[in-house]
């Protein structure tokens, strides 16, 4: 006889009908058995009554070990290890008992009698009983079994009644994982979804309510049941709120998109029908406004209205025809611009936005059209130009009467003499008539196009001028048109002259997007026709798409660190220490080609567009690169050693002020650099782009670094020699020598000398260069291919607009 040390076993013994069967780990009575008094105390502890036993808590049911309850005829309860088979354990044993009893082959056999005797009992295991693994309990003593799963369902019912849908969902989820076919679980799932849908609606989260209602309906359908009216009402109210939320803000485009999505699942909801009618009314208003504006000759307004209508309902039968007619007469190009809207332009770092708009709204004398080892230029304002007198004189023939204005400006520059660069380079000019000009330089200019363009900026206005978003619509239509632009900021630029050729761009609308992914989404649904400034690592997925043209700029954007030569906190050794701490490979791999920024696989990037390590602040392909210069290899220990030497020499005083732009890739790189420099022992203080800095992360791009470099280094457009005072002779002399160069070869040789000097003293630490991409729909026809700058020749672009897709 097994010694019984626990009250349930003692109770079993009391019944006298139980035979303890040791099936495993048979334990013998030992000298260490508890005293008889303790046994008696335990034996007196009664079994709990079922009506007094509380329902376990959700936490206990979820986290604790599963326990079944065996309810005896007396109302007492035995808590046991999970029984098997389950559910219907007693019924299964009874069925087996009947099968064995009626089996004619086994009639009267001892083995049959033993089997039947066994089947008259329920085998149970008591939790935490190390002695007896199993007991046999006569079945006629058992009233019913409450399984662990049943207890969970009862707890779920209580939770749903209390409105605790989150905990209920956890328990349902656990049951779905462990016992998905448990009787009653589907009902609880449905109840949960219903309760949650109502709760979400009450919490003003109609979209979630709608989603729960849809799941509820699907579940009921699987069960072969219909949808209760209450749930349908919940879905209807939720759908109405989802659509109305956008309609109230006049955002009919999003409202229509949401309505389409809802109608796919709930086509018969009354709210869907009414809201569809409301949106149709808005579309009708827009179409009417477009027709009215067109009749009055206000094509910009007509285009804005009909484009909005097309965005709301591209398949609306009354939209397609007027859309094609109006957009053919007044093509508007929608361009997505990526990057923070607050990008700061400085002389050393003109923001990409400013560079683009300069091309659009201001006309330079020459524009770079291609870049290889040098930039190639086109005279955007000129009919002809040719140098004479060994290049010291250049004769320009303008398309417009700009000669006198140009001459006056050049003479003003020349009057400043050697004080400034242009004053030193130009001796004067002579305007023969309104269109013909002779420019006299003090020497043959090695980069005359770049210098003349820099000396004569904004000689006339560009092909487009900024415009305001005012169309003169009635308020309701105006609100819908304004809201159609979405959350992004947008600006319009309209042609200065009337388009003489059909299809010529009449207007360009720039939309600012916070990141490449948002711009890509807008591009995919046809909200924009082009994306500019697209980082190469964000454009991989468009490879092979024939409806899209991907252009890679000839001219790379170079990201590098500029170090202030006059900084009192960084000397020559400190600068070198900074350079040794920079891990360019890690910056490219983890900050530039970061996973979350890649819309497509990084491996699919066009080879030409892959970012590469830079060797200078200008393009690696430029002739003014000294091939012997190779950037310092990352070595944090060496950086720390040099930092310590700098500190000993009194070079490093106070925190290093670090300025960087806030675009995702530059901010990521800046964060990595800051961490590396701190590991090397530097104290780094991040500062704004307009604050004084010791080190600045900048993205620069210049077709002619010989012309731009002095501006980058001094922070001025037309640097005077005095601005170079802070720079050592090794930098100052090549900078001045580049100005004096009379041939491209001389200028390149001086630029290479400057490259050596800037690298040797670590005034510029190059990081990486990347050629930005532009995405175009093939509906946009541009003039040049492989241009170095966006918007070059935009006045000659044509656009055949197609209806946008429904988002």
């Amino acid at each position: 006889m097994t010694s019984v040390r626990r009250s349930p076993a003692f109770v079993l013994a009391l019944f006298g009908a139980c035979f303890a069967t040791v099936t495993a780990a048979r334990a013998q009575p030992s000298d260490g058995d508890p005293p008889a008094a303790a046994e008696a105390a335990e034996a007196e502890q009664p079994l709990p009554q079922i009506d007094k036993l509380p329902l376990p808590s959700a936490a206990a049911l979820l986290a604790g070990p599963p326990r079944d309850r065996v309810v005896l005829n007396t109302g007492e309860v035995l808590i046991v290890e999970p029984l098997a088979p389950r559910p219907g354990t007693l019924a299964a044993i009874e069925a087996e008992y009947e099968r064995v009893r009626r089996d004619p082959a086994g009639q009267g056999k001892p083995s049959t009698l033993r089997k039947l005797e066994e089947l008259e009992h329920l085998v149970i295991s008591l939790p935490d009983d190390p002695v007896v693994a199993a007991y046999r309990l006569r079945r006629e003593l058992v009233l019913r079994i409450e399984y662990h799963e049943d207890l969970m369902l009862r707890r779920i019912d209580r939770l749903l009644a209390d409105g605790d849908t989150a905990t209920a969902f956890e328990m349902i989820d656990a049951l779905l994982r462990d016992a998905p076919a448990w009787p009653g679980l589907s009902d609880r799932r449905a109840s949960h979804l219903e309760v949650e849908a109502v709760a979400f609606l009450e919490r003003d989260r109609p979209f979630d309510a709608l989603r729960r209602a849809a799941e509820y309906r699907r579940l009921r359908r699987d069960l072969g049941l219909g949808l209760p009216r209450a749930v349908r009402d919940v879905a209807d109210a939720a759908a109405a709120r989802v659509v109305d939320a956008h309609l109230d803000g006049s955002d009919a485009v999003t409202a229509a998109a949401e309505l389409r999505r809802i109608a796919d699942s709930w086509p018969d909801l009354p709210s869907v029908t009414t809201r569809r009618a409301a949106i149709d009314a808005i579309v009708a208003d827009l179409v009417a406004a477009a027709a009215d504006a067109r009749n009055r000759g206000r094509l910009a307004a007509a285009a804005a209205a009909i484009e909005t209508a097309a965005r709301i309902a591209p398949r609306h039968p009354e939209v397609g025809r007027p859309f094609r007619r109006i957009t053919a007469a007044y093509p508007r190009l929608h361009v997505a611009v990526i990057g923070p809207g607050d990008a700061v332009a400085t002389a050393t770092d003109p923001s990409p936005r400013d560079r683009r708009l300069r091309r659009l709204t201001r006309a330079d004398l020459f524009v770079p059209v291609a870049f290889g080892k040098h930039a190639m230029y086109a005279g955007s304002l000129l009919r002809a130009w040719r140098p004479t007198d060994l290049g010291r004189r250049t004769r320009l023939v303008f398309r417009e009467p700009l000669a006198r204005e140009a001459a006056a400006r050049l003479d003003r520059l020349a009057a400043r003499g050697g004080e400034t660069r242009f004053g030193h380079l130009f001796a004067g000019s002579r305007a023969f008539d309104a269109a013909r000009l002779e420019v006299v330089a003090t020497r043959p200019l090695a980069a005359s196009e770049a210098i003349l363009s820099a000396a004569l900026p904004s000689l006339t206005d560009g092909p487009f001028r900024p415009a305001e978003d005012r169309y003169g619509f009635e308020p309701r239509v105006a609100a819908v048109v304004a809201a159609c632009r979405g959350a992004v900021a947008s600006r319009r630029f309209v042609r200065r002259d009337d388009a003489s050729r059909p299809g010529l761009l009449a207007e360009i609308v720039e939309h600012d997007f916070p990141d490449a992914a948002a711009a890509q989404r807008a591009f995919d649904v046809g909200a924009v026709d082009a994306v500019v400034g697209l980082p190469p690592w964000d454009a991989g997925r468009h490879d092979g798409d024939r409806s899209v043209r991907l252009e890679i700029s000839d001219l790379p954007d170079v990201t590098c660190l500029f170090i202030d030569p006059a900084s009192e906190r960084l000397g020559g050794i400190g600068r070198r220490a900074l350079a040794y701490a920079v891990d360019v490979a890690a910056v490219i791999a983890e900050d530039v080609l970061r996973e979350d920024a890649i819309a497509g696989p990084a491996a699919d990037l066009p080879a030409a567009a892959r970012p590469t390590a830079a060797v200078a602040a200008w393009a690696t392909t430029h002739r003014g690169i000294d091939p012997r210069v190779s950037p310092r290899q990352t070595d944090l220990a060496l950086a720390a050693t040099l930092r310590a030497i700098a500190a000993n020499r009194g070079e490093a005083r106070g925190p290093i002020r670090f300025s960087f732009p806030s675009t995702p890739s530059t901010a990521g790189a800046a964060s990595r650099l800051t961490a590396a420099w701190r590991r090397a022992g530097f104290e780094i203080e991040p500062v704004g782009q307009n604050d004084p800095w010791d080190v600045a992360l900048r993205v620069v791009r210049a077709p002619d670094p010989g012309v731009s470099l002095a501006g980058w280094l001094t922070g001025t457009d037309d640097p005077a020699v005095a601005d170079l005072l802070e720079w050592p002779v090794s930098v100052r002399e090549p900078l001045l020598a580049i100005e004096r160069a009379t041939t491209t070869e001389q200028a390149d040789a001086e630029l290479a000398r400057l490259h050596r000097a800037l690298d040797a003293e670590a005034f510029v630490i190059p990081l990486f260069e990347a050629r930005p991409l532009r995405l175009f729909r093939t509906a946009v026809t541009t003039g040049f291919a492989g241009r170095s700058d966006f918007y070059v020749g935009a006045e000659d672009w044509t656009l055949r607009r197609v209806l946008p897709k429904a988002p």
Binding site: G417, G418, E419, R421, H424, G572, I573, R576, D635, A637, L638, T641, L642, I645, A720, V721, A722, L724, L725, P728, V729, S730, R732, E733, L735, L736, E739, R740, R756, A757, A760, E761
Partner: protein
């Protein structure tokens, strides 16, 4: 002001022509200045009846104001005068404008113009214009003095001309507190030959104190010498003599133009502007207990930079010391009195060879620290690898340390640059530059050998070999 055709009708103002040579009374020169006055006017003004009267009255006014220190000569064309006042009259916006310049015949220099305006007074033009012209001439007048050779360094004694000839208006010939520029006057071989007059470059004299009342010097006066030369007036120059001419009226600014001479080109040695060269500007102020000598005040020194034409403009003001440094040495250090003259041209020997060599030296010196630090880090890593028994890793670091530029690389680069630049300087005849390049080369060679002659890599290699041997002896 445009000179008119009536310039031909310039008035030769009457006066006795006196030339008696220097009259000496004791230690003072009492020779009066012989002065001619030429008056011109614009055509409109010259044709007025009133102008004839004006022309005749200006000379009288000058004589009254400056006598007896000056004597007005009659004939401008005869050129037997010491100084000449050129008085130009014009009418601007209802007023007379009188511009007076003083021309010193001895030194052949013309002063900056002194311009005054006088209101147009109907019926009394003569007096108004005469008074204005006399005032302008007094401002334009630049006294002359002889410089006595000898004296202590930094100081000199001036013997003013016309001393003791007290003029009616003493301010006209005042010396007290004025700056003078120095000249060396050498007489011609024959009495008729013109004297050779040369300015003592960048040298100024500052009169300490004149004891004649109202700044008038009635006898010899002491002056501080501001000069790049140690003691330019220390000794007598035979028949030549030093003289000084007062500065003033000042020009609004002085343009300094620095030219490097002997720049090689395909056409032979030429001049080139010293574009972008930094100049250290230090104010010169009287210092010391006696407040006699002008000394630089480094606390107020500032760096400026020559423009792309090698020029720099200084507004008129107190004297400054300009220092041009290049290739680690002072190329030129000269005082300048801004406003004393309109333009100053400094012609310096082209130091491009030294500068080119210096750039290489600076690059080597800056790379040296980097290389030494890198070598130290690599060797340390090699030793750490050996300490933990990783001989291969130690070998790798030793290889890396050995791969850094060694002393030989730096020395070859240094020697190549030194040889090329010294040879080019020698060909250009600049032997001093050659010597300086050689001296600098020796210094930098010593530095390179001192920093890169360490045996740390050899020691590491020896440790590696020893560890390899020991590893081979370990029993299996």
């Amino acid at each position: 002001m445009a000179a008119s055709r009536s310039a031909a009708a310039c008035a030769a103002i009457c006066g006795a022509v006196l030339f008696c040579g220097p009259a000496v009374a004791g230690d003072a020169d009492v020779t009066p200045y012989r002065v001619a006055v030429a008056v011109t006017a614009t055509p409109e003004l010259g044709e007025t009846v009133a102008f004839d009267a004006i022309r005749s009255r200006v000379g009288d006014g000058l004589r009254r104001a400056f006598a007896p220190a000056i004597e007005i000569t009659a004939d401008v064309a005869a050129e037997n005068y010491d100084k000449r006042f050129d008085v130009a009259l014009s009418a601007v916006a209802g007023k007379f404008r009188i511009a007076v310049t003083e021309y010193d015949a001895t030194f052949a220099v013309t002063s900056a113009p002194v311009t005054v305006t006088a209101p147009s007074a109907r019926g009394n033009h003569g007096r108004v214009i005469t008074d204005a012209a006399v005032a302008a001439a007094a401002a334009a007048f630049r006294p002359v003095a002889s410089i006595r050779p000898g004296g202590e360094r930094g100081r000199v004694t001036l013997v003013p001309r016309a001393a003791r000839l007290v003029p009616t208006d003493r301010r006209a010939v005042r010396l007290d507190g004025r700056f003078l520029t120095a000249f060396l006057v050498s007489p011609g071989r024959h009495p008729e030959a013109a004297a050779d007059v040369r300015r003592v470059p960048s040298t100024y004299l500052a009169v300490e104190s004149a004891r004649g009342g109202e700044g008038f010097a009635d006898g010899p006066v002491g002056a501080s010498v501001i000069s790049p030369f140690r003691n330019p007036f220390a000794r007598s120059r035979g028949r030549s003599r030093f003289a000084a001419l007062a500065v003033g009226p000042v020009h609004a600014e002085t343009e300094l133009s620095v030219v490097m001479s002997g720049t090689p080109s395909v056409f032979g040695p030429t001049d080139s502007p010293a574009a972008g060269r930094a100049v250290l500007v230090t104010p010169l102020v009287r210092d010391g207990e006696e407040q006699t000598r002008f000394l630089p005040r480094p606390a107020e020194a500032r760096d400026v930079i020559l423009d792309r034409d090698g020029r720099m403009t200084f507004p008129a003001g107190r004297p400054v010391l300009l220092e041009i440094r290049a290739a680690g040495r002072t190329v030129a250090s000269r005082p300048l009195l801004p406003g004393a003259v309109a333009t100053v041209v400094w012609r310096l020997p082209d130091d491009r060879y030294e500068r080119d060599f210096r750039l290489v030296v600076e690059e080597i010196e800056s790379s040296l620290i980097e290389t030494v630090a890198a070598r130290s880090v690599f060797v340390r890593r090699g030793n750490v690898a050996l300490d933990r028994g990783d001989i291969d890793d130690a070998e790798r670091w030793a290889e890396k340390a050995a791969g850094l530029p060694g002393a030989g690389v730096f020395l070859r680069r240094l020697d190549a640059s030194a040889a090329a630049n010294a040879a080019a300087a020698g060909e250009a005849g600049n032997a001093r530059a050659t010597a300086r390049i050689e001296r600098e080369r020796r210094r930098v060679t010593g530095t390179i050998k001192r920093f890169l002659a360490g045996t740390a890599i050899d020691t590491l290699r020896e440790r590696i070999e020893t560890n390899r041997d020991l590893a081979g002896l370990v029993p299996e």
